[in-house]
Point group: C2
């Protein structure tokens, strides 16, 4: 299970509340690990009981109070242990690929708008990544270790989106060929 560890990393990078974590998961971390606020709140409570994280109640005015979490020593130890354990290579779950094979038993042209939608959403994401790269890593030569590691993960996201866009073009060409 990596949700605990993803949360720990996020809290080490920057302490925050469950709500803030949920938003980070919607943005940066969610590129490679998704989680809803429900999951996050539940896991935070478990991690707190286990002593992995410390909590501090923060009174705000104009908005609801929040609980700011930060990584505690046992959490860091757990993270270090996990880093030493091998993890399985990731598995992909690609619903669109199922659909493409399914299209052989229906009209393949039916899929064209769907693939185009996907293409657009990947193009948008790629554009966001590239903007973020410009903003956060303008001078790659002058980065600390943490930034270099964040950057290489972002480059992975960028290359994934580029590859996916090219593949979706390939898919569209195939579907058009079959529709003629």
């Amino acid at each position: 299970m990596a949700l605990e560890h993803a949360i720990l990393v996020s809290l080490l990078e920057q302490p925050g509340s469950g709500y803030e974590l949920a938003r980070r998961f919607d943005r940066s971390i969610g590129r490679f690990w998704t989680a809803t606020h429900q999951q996050i709140y539940r896991v935070l409570r478990r991690m707190e009981t286990d002593g992995w994280i410390a909590v501090e109640a923060v009174v705000q005015d104009g908005r609801p109070d929040k609980k700011v979490y930060s990584a505690a020593d046992p959490g860091r130890t757990a993270l270090a242990d996990w880093l030493r354990e091998p993890v399985e290579p990731e598995t992909v779950r690609h619903e669109l690929a199922v659909k493409i094979r399914a299209a052989a038993f229906e009209d393949p042209a039916l899929l064209i708008p769907e693939v185009e939608r996907h293409r657009e959403s990947h193009a948008t994401l790629l554009a966001r990544y590239l903007t973020g790269e410009q903003r956060d890593f303008p001078d790659p030569a002058a980065l600390g270790a943490r930034q270099q590691l964040q950057h290489v993960v972002l480059r992975g996201g960028i290359e994934y989106e580029r590859m996916t866009l090219a593949w979706l073009d390939d898919v569209l060409a195939t579907l058009h060929r079959l529709a003629d």
Copy 2:
């Protein structure tokens, strides 16, 4: 939920038992949709109750009897309906990426053997895909619709593995730089 649909596609391509489906999911379909035999048996029973698939008991000698499933009309209809519904763009769950960001809080060099293991496993998979492509699609110009769609999905897998390999090299270079 796409497991039902993935199973339907697989049964349309070729009827088979739960066991055979599980093996197909380990090989070809598992590239983009994984499932254990437990999940498959459970879903098959549900699909049978719903009338999506038909079952025929086959007595074998020298090995246990099996139940051979095939797609029924209501299943085909359900698949056609699903094809017309939009699906969400896939989400990636990349544990290694979490580890890479976590490495900033430990010794980054620790990750090198792990990344190399992943690199090797992706290289092996790519080799298998390429061999399979040679075997199943030797003459891309002479393929029917079904084969063309299967082929474009396989090309997606191939490009994914190529991209991942290049990225893992990038990660290794970054880790080595940080270790100096």
